[in-house]
Amino acid sequence: MKKRIVTLLLCCFCIANVFAQEAEVKGRVVDLNSGTPLPDTKISIQESIFSTTTDADGMFSIKSPDLPQGEQVLLVERNGYMTLRMPITIQSGGIVNLTPILLDVDFTEVQSQIGTISLADDELDQDDGTSTNVSGLLQASNDVFLNAAAFDFSATFFRPRGLDNANGKVLINGIEMNKQFDGRPQWGNWGGLNDAQRNRDFTMGLSANDNTFGDLAGSTNIIMRASQYRAGGQISYAASDRTYEGRVIGSYNSGVSADGWAYSVLISRRFGNGGYIDGTIYDANSFFASVEKVINQDHSLNFSAFYTPNRRGRSTALTQEVLDLKGNQYNPFWGMQDGEIRNSRIREVEEPVFMLNHYWNISEKTRLNTNLGYQFGKIGNTRIDNNGTTLYTLNGQEAYVGGARNADPNYYQRMPSYFLRFENPTAFDYQNAYLAREEFVNNGQYDWNSLYLANQLAASEGRNAVYAIQEDRIDDTQISVNTILSSQVTDNIVINGGLNYRGLKSENFAVLKDLLGGTGYLDIDAFAEDGPEVLLEDLAQSDLRNRNRIVGEGDRYKYNYEIDAAVYGGFAQAQFKYNLVDFYIAAEGSQTTYQRNGLYENGNFPGSRSFGESEELSFTNYGVKGGLTYKLTGRHLFNLNAGYITKAPGIRNSFSNARQNNDVVIGLESEKYQTADLSYIYRSPIIKARLTGFYTTIQDATEIGFFFTQSAQGLENTNAFVQEVTTGIEKLHFGGEFGMEAQVTPTIKLKAAASVGQYTYNNNPNIYYTSDDFNNPVTFGDGTTKLKDLHLSGGPEKAYQLGFEYRDPDFWWVGATTNYFSDAYINVSKLRRSGVFASDTDGLPFNDFDEDIARQLLKQENFGDYMLVNLVGGKSWKIDDYFVGFFATINNVFNQEFKTGGFEDSRNADYRRLAEEARRDTPVFGSRYFSGFGRSYYVNVYFRF
């Protein structure tokens, strides 16, 4: 190894200096242990505008007549390595040659990466309204506040600035990974690839990013190129009681060989029969491979592919009654079968990604990166279908006989509260409630055998299955093409630009996953009700072109449609860097189209209302942003960002009832965002601090909800399964965030972070309801829902942290944080705030309406305050060229119980029913809550070579 360094030294001395009047700083950066060159290492002259990155050979050069003279500090930074501060002396016309610069692996960085990514694993299955945590974006950040948010606040569903993760962009090798369905990244698609995702560029908020225009909550570009990985391998094993029980990862990276080839491979597996929540089985494998050929200095071609099939057992939000009886680890979705835990709700994600990336250094100052991505596969969510029926005919008329009730162990009719629902319960009622309570406490899980029994009885009588497992599927096929240009036009100006296209075909359907011992399933809608002029047997058909079909395992049924979506877009950006100020301006534009194509002709919506192509939706969007950093001194900086962005609504919010028809949301508009933030940044050798104020308004947001309600006041039948479409929603987010760390001694660091915000609805948006139980869209009262000034749900609005870290020179370290949270709010029922609330069943005002009681009934629940203490520690050893280490965390040391979120039930939404519910000791349809984890641990041991 020494020999090689000497050779390199000689080689570097040979480079002649052709610009005598210019000063130059140059050198080569290599790994201290292996001696391999380290490309893409950031080199900068501190407190100047001069910076560069190393090339594939680890070489760099900064030269200019304007280089600051005299004693300067050269900063050498690379992910996963200790940052180096080298004092240098620059003289006019002189050359500073620094070869080699030896970078040492940052153990703590390695350790913390391993730790952080385990938190992000929790993101995988949060798809029922809570997967709104942006902390997954934040892992590679050096910002004290964002680290607190990622490590310690995320357990509470804290969302920086109250923003959803649909407001953050995730790119892999420059290709956007956010789903067009809802704008959110599907974390499961790259779960378990931790070791291959070390290299990340995170841009906070709207700050300039070289690869994308970005979004409000920031942008992350994960670099998964074979040439960019540190040569060597790693095996690690993690054990935890949070989501998975065990994780094993092995990876190996070749580094760039002499002939320009590099490859990387990774295999991992995560598994468990239940994490903190019972029955949340975990079965995930991950594979990654990348090959890159560095063709010459100017061209490099990379191929990366990853495939991460994962299956997770899901859990759900629970009422307070259930939480009180069974605790926050309870999960109603599983039961024992054949001595094993079987979860009825399995989420399966299998969407392999392939990408081809071309990197072209057009000139010394101009780079062009062109990417082609292809993704296909499926996302499936299973559940028990309890409405299997059998066709009976009578004189040519058809009737569907059968169907069972919800078999969930926590179904409301099995709860003690149900037996005490009437006023002045009798002794008999109390006895029944007691028996129900005992049954629920002692059993309270799925009875799989009873489902098989029902189907076997049915089969023996020639009837169809009563129960089945239905899987709701989204099978996407997507092609992405983009090209990103970056050019250093002058020493002070960098321009970026990009063009992109994404084409998506999304097949959405239900598939019969398991007949549970039955012989077939009759594909009709057992909930169909007679209409005024249409026969039930027509209404009930999921596909009028294929009536009364008996389906078997693997068949599509219930609904079947495709969505075609295409996005064409581009962005342009200019970044200016000067001694006192840096600033940037950027703009983007895009054209988005969606079209639904119904493959079934639904009985409720015959003809082209459900079958064939829908209207083509088209959205033209743009965004502009700009920002400025003012460097008062090297220690005091001010940063301002502002932007205006319009965004096409996601597919999910564009079609009001896509499973049944081609209806487009009435009054659908692009969402509009205005945002600004102002920061003060303080940097001294001891203290790093940032204080930011932010203000964001959102207009024309759309939301769609689906639920069964008994409060469809004024309709012929007040019971209906409805789609709730809210349009023109305005939201207001403002507040401040603060982060500070102080290196009080070389080994002790103190940390403080805080976020205080207010995230509210800012208007009373329009709301309407559709259903197959009534013909036309319905509005109640004045057609709005009174949301103004109610809080958005999702995580605490206030979060504070105090913490410390002790890093022993002997490579062990410990840390602890105390975190205080308050003011998280429940997700309000919009129906309760609509005209329904004050209307009796006939649609006229209640005659017993009491304003004071009404106010009480509509008060938004605040989940209160609580404190979480987290501990972390680890140790590493270096044995020859190998590293061995472990890392452990204990979260929520004091086993604090807390709610991370929840929602009100819209089943009962009118004054009288809610008042009746409020008079009960325990509500029958109480709000449902998501609970945070109690005390939990995570341990990781690793071996690097």
Partner: protein, 464 residues
């Protein structure tokens, strides 16, 4: 570069993964659900009849059984598959030729997924209470002096499934042979049909989806052999409630029960498969249609109800309720117009049969007689008025032989008034002698309570 061989690493890795990480989350086998026959000996079993005897002998409303070690056994005959039974299973003592049945109340829905028709079950009696519920023998738990549903957690404690299932042979039973002992049995009504007013015409009735149907749709079933009638009840929660009643005639396989208020016998279907109507020739009574000319200047009867303050002031008319209730024709008035009015609405009377009969008319001295009248139907939930004629009035409407006249009874709105419609002229010239005409109202609250107004009843002809 490194001494490690990649292959070895991955073999090691995979070995670790395989050894430590088996998760079973898919591919579950169908479980073995074969039934272990309950270990119940013959001397532990008492008959359902004996159970009924215990209740009868006690003289109490309910008897709670304890410390007997006894069971009853029976075969399931009811099914909630079609939504027609709710939280109960009815068992009878034998698969064929049963003698007694009992209703077991259980707070579980659905039950057909565990207890299909024909399944033999044992019911542990200790801890249960026997009594009557809605008029029929019932087993459940005690709630005061009532029999209540067995709580769902206790279901399997009391009801034990046998591995045996038998084909249930419906017991042929004539409507007039209905007795309390036969309640809770699976019976066959041979050669019956639905009432012509419910199934003939352009808008036949559904089983239980008419606007006026509450809880149950009640439909008149007639025996072709004896003209006896009973009611087929269908729950408004039944999945087949929206089907139209079949108009043919044939057999009905049904469960015999008492109605909710224990006022009359009624029968329920398990599923539409219990209907076996294969004879297209209905057995409706003949409707008289006289031929030849009719009408003339001379009046035999003319009644517009004006000048009355009470319908009893009519002389020689007969106004009688023969079903033991109080629904009768009364004098109605609207906009200074009097008429005869009848409605079973809110009477609480499940069986209503009321007659309004004209005074005697001697047709011998007239020819070409015809009838005219105006009828208004209101709050219509079924055609339950008929116009009859006789030449041999006995003084008792129920013993008189009547013939049906082909009178168009208008259909009114289900909510509100339809206005008077002229009916007639109806040719009655083929009758001679002493003639009376009757307006027969057959209803049932709440399912058949159409309100009728009759006015301007006029019989004309040519005096000889």
């Amino acid at each position: 570069m490194k001494t490690f061989k990649l292959n070895k690493i991955f073999i090691l890795l995979l070995a670790m993964a395989v050894v430590t990480s088996c998760v079973k989350d898919d591919d579950f086998e169908t479980p073995d659900l074969s039934i272990v026959e309950p270990n119940i000996t013959a001397d532990q079993i008492i008959s359902i009849s004996a159970l009924a005897g215990i209740l009868a002998q006690s003289g109490e409303q309910v008897v709670t059984i304890s410390e007997t070690g006894k069971y009853i056994e029976g075969y399931v005959i009811s099914s909630d598959e079609g939504g027609n039974f709710f939280k109960q299973i009815i068992i009878q003592d034998a698969p064929s030729n049963p003698t007694r049945g009992v209703k077991i109340l259980v707070d579980v829905s659905p039950l057909f997924v565990s207890y299909e028709v024909g399944r033999k079950v044992f019911v542990k009696l200790d801890g249960l209470t026997v009594g009557t519920s809605n008029g029929s023998l019932a087993l459940g738990v005690r709630n005061g002096n009532l029999v209540a549903r067995i709580p769902f957690p206790d279901r399997e404690k009391f009801i034990l499934r046998s591995g045996i299932t038998e084909e249930i042979v419906a017991l042929p039973l004539a409507i007039e042979d209905f007795t309390m002992d036969k309640v809770n049995l699976f019976i066959r009504l041979n050669d019956v049909q639905f009432n012509r007013n419910d199934v003939l015409g352009p808008n036949p009735k559904t089983f239980a989806a008419e606007p006026g149907d509450q809880f149950d749709g009640e439909r008149l079933v007639e025996s072709c052999a004896t003209n006896a009638t009973t009611i087929l009840s269908t729950s408004t929660f039944a999945s087949f409630k929206g089907l139209n009643l079949p108009k043919d005639r044939g057999n009905l396989d049904v469960v015999l029960v008492r109605d909710f208020f224990n006022e009359f016998y009624t029968v329920y279907l398990n599923t539409p498969a219990g209907i076996n109507f294969d004879n297209e020739n209905r057995c409706d009574p003949d409707i008289i249609a006289c031929e030849g000319p009719s009408g003339g200047p001379d009046t035999l009867l003319s009644e517009n109800f004006e000048g009355l303050t009470n319908i009893n002031q009519l002389t020689d008319w007969v106004n009688v309720n023969v079903s033991g209730g109080s629904v009768r024709y009364v004098l109605g008035n609207f906009s200074n117009n009097n008429y005869a009015q009848i409605s079973g609405f809110a009477s609480g009377e499940a069986v209503i049969e009321s007659w309004l009969v004209t005074p005697n008319m001697n047709f011998d001295t007239f020819s070409q007689e015809q009838l005219n009248l105006d009828i208004e139907a209101a709050f219509d939930n079924g055609k339950i008025l008929s116009v009859l004629i006789t030449t041999a009035y006995t003084g008792d409407v129920t013993t008189t032989e009547w013939e049906i006249l082909d009178v168009n009874i208008p259909t009114g709105p289900s909510s509100g008034f339809g206005g008077f419609q002229p009916s007639g002229p109806i040719n009655i010239s083929c009758f001679d002698g002493n003639v009376r005409i009757a307006f027969k109202y057959v209803g049932s609250d709440p399912s058949a309570t159409t309100r009728y107004h009759l006015d301007n009843i006029k019989v004309t002809g040519i005096q000889n």
